[in-house]
Symmetry: C2
Subunit: 348 residues, 2 copies
């Protein structure tokens, strides 16, 4: 079996330098690193991470726990986390499981143990959730992304503020019949987020004297979810002229539904989202832009700082969502009357 | 420090049984497992995976290498792999990096080493790719998903056949001007897949005596990619009446583009996909259905078999794609003339 000493000898460096160069843990001059890696490759040296772990007490692995990878926001956060961990030479252990599934239960019961990982990034686990208590027992640093996580560091946008801005944008355009579309209690990993966004919408409506017109059409926060809910909302007698989508996927579903119903966006109905999803531009969607990849990177920074210094107080990194006005929104007095509205007039 | 012997004593079982119950490696009666887990929890026992690894020579970790998690197919395969690994009590180490990025280079150089993982599932690494040679050097079992992987086991659908079936469906409806939309050489992790699908389309066209009408409009295989390419193809003088999308995302982009151009789907243009994406039903998309989650599960089965018995010959699991006819396709003689077509007539 090839040992680190053999690699060091061939590369003409000390064992400590060879070890540092291969672990990527500390700085080694690029030329030296290259020489060591070449020596290791020519000797087919495979360092035993198990042995490294026993020696240092570190696993060099970070756990990432999330409800799903198949929604845009979650996939983007994950890719941001991955990119940052690769830079630090750390492995990413993924635990992806929808709430309420046997896999979820098994992950919490069997996998969330301290010595598997040096720290955990928990995406979409909310403070009200009893699962947080179970996570605390792993006794390793945890950083949350999305939701509220007392006692742990957190990366998030101000969801209340983002939805308030989206609603205010529609109100400033003269819209009065504005519904909040999407979000429901059983949304995996985002129930608090959706509650905060609904609060932001309600605040903006109330501040404009429209508290009595507050209206929530709940739906799964997906494109098909937004589509189905919008078919109902836009097909009803009291059709709104403005829709605040809980996220871009719901807003895009609403735009697709409107077009299928023969309604113009923004001519008959104005729609806003929150995200700046990769499809937002294609649908000319006015939205509050957030950067989930940056949230993933920020979570890694917070986590590594706490691993280095466990006495560090938990902190919150609040990222700003920025309004991007595209052409899914239009001033009410520039809008055309939709077919079948209450005044009986018909659009083009 | 709490040892396994303490847990065994409290649970009233042997050390071997306690170890088996906690590792999930072998069968243990459910009542026994529960007693051991409760004992471990009350003692706050955390097994050292490093020590376990040194003792058994196994890491209990499986690597998953893929170009991206933010495309539907890849995210679904990943969730299928995750669910299967959790059942076996195995950790998933994710290596997600787009080809051509520094992260990709770093992952191949520093992370693909045998003793980090017991085996690797490589999604979207193709046989022609020099990266395959580098992967072979990790000297652990590898199973591929998507593409061709000589010397390793593979899970895939027959891409040539799937595209042939989609094209034949349009030809049987009487369409003659049928283009192939999407797919290009730089598509991350799917260039061979797209080449095979184009081959299937070409074969069906040629068999119908339409070899001279073969037409490829390349585009990134995403919804916005399909949208942009379809705007070009449908806005041109020689507008096709049928579109074979390289995948559902491209086909859906084409439907969105057609509607924006004022064309009816399927009234003016028929569109097919390959996937059965979660949006397919919302767009009434006729498609060839594949089950990427099942492909992920099958990859885990193949990999674990090879880890148990490394002498096992590589095998290929070819899954069938099934035609699902929805209403994005229509017989040519039932179609309406599109506005601005060469005969000068106008649709509704």
């Amino acid at each position: 079996m090839v040992r680190i000493a053999d690699v060091a000898e061939l590369a003409g460096v000390s064992k400590a330098t060879a070890s540092r160069a291969l672990s990527g843990r500390d700085h080694v001059a690029e030329a030296t690193r290259k020489r060591v890696v070449e020596a290791a490759e020519s000797l087919q040296y495979a360092p035993s991470t198990a042995a490294v772990g026993l020696a240092t007490g570190r696993t060099r692995r970070i756990g990432v726990l999330m409800p799903t990878v198949s929604r845009w926001f979650f996939s983007q956060v994950l890719e941001g986390v991955q990119a940052a961990l690769v830079k630090h030479g750390l492995d990413l252990m993924l635990y992806c499981a929808l709430p309420g599934t046997p896999a979820r239960e098994r992950i919490f019961r069997d996998f969330m143990r301290r010595k598997r990982m040096d720290g955990l990034i928990a995406i979409g686990i909310e403070s009200s959730d009893p699962e947080w208590e179970r996570l605390r027992q792993i006794d390793a640093p945890i950083v949350g992304v999305v939701g509220t996580t007392p006692g742990s560091s957190l990366v998030a946008i101000d969801d209340t503020h983002a939805a308030m801005r989206a609603t205010e944008h529609l109100l400033a355009l003269g819209h009065r019949e504005v519904v909040f579309l999407g979000g429901e209690a059983r949304d995996p990993g985002a129930a608090n987020v959706h509650r905060d966004r609904f609060t932001g919408y309600t605040r903006a409506m109330t501040a404009a004297g429209l508290g009595a017109s507050v209206r929530h059409v709940p739906a799964p926060s997906t494109v098909p979810g937004g589509y189905a809910a919008a078919v109902d909302a836009l097909g009803s007698q009291d059709r709104p002229t403005g829709i605040v989508g809980v996220c871009d996927e719901v807003a895009i579903g609403a735009i697709i539904a409107a077009r299928r119903l023969g309604l113009l966006v923004p001519g008959h109905v104005s729609v806003t989202g929150i995200d700046d999803h990769e499809y937002a531009e294609m649908f000319s969607l006015t939205t509050l832009s957030q950067k989930p990849r940056a949230q993933g990177r920020a979570a890694v920074d917070l986590l590594l700082a706490r691993i280095e210094d466990p006495s560090l107080a938990p902190s919150t990194t609040s990222l700003k969502a920025r309004l991007i006005v595209r052409s899914s929104t239009l001033a009410l007095d520039a809008s055309v009357a939709a077919p079948g509205t209450r005044d009986g007039s018909h659009g083009p």
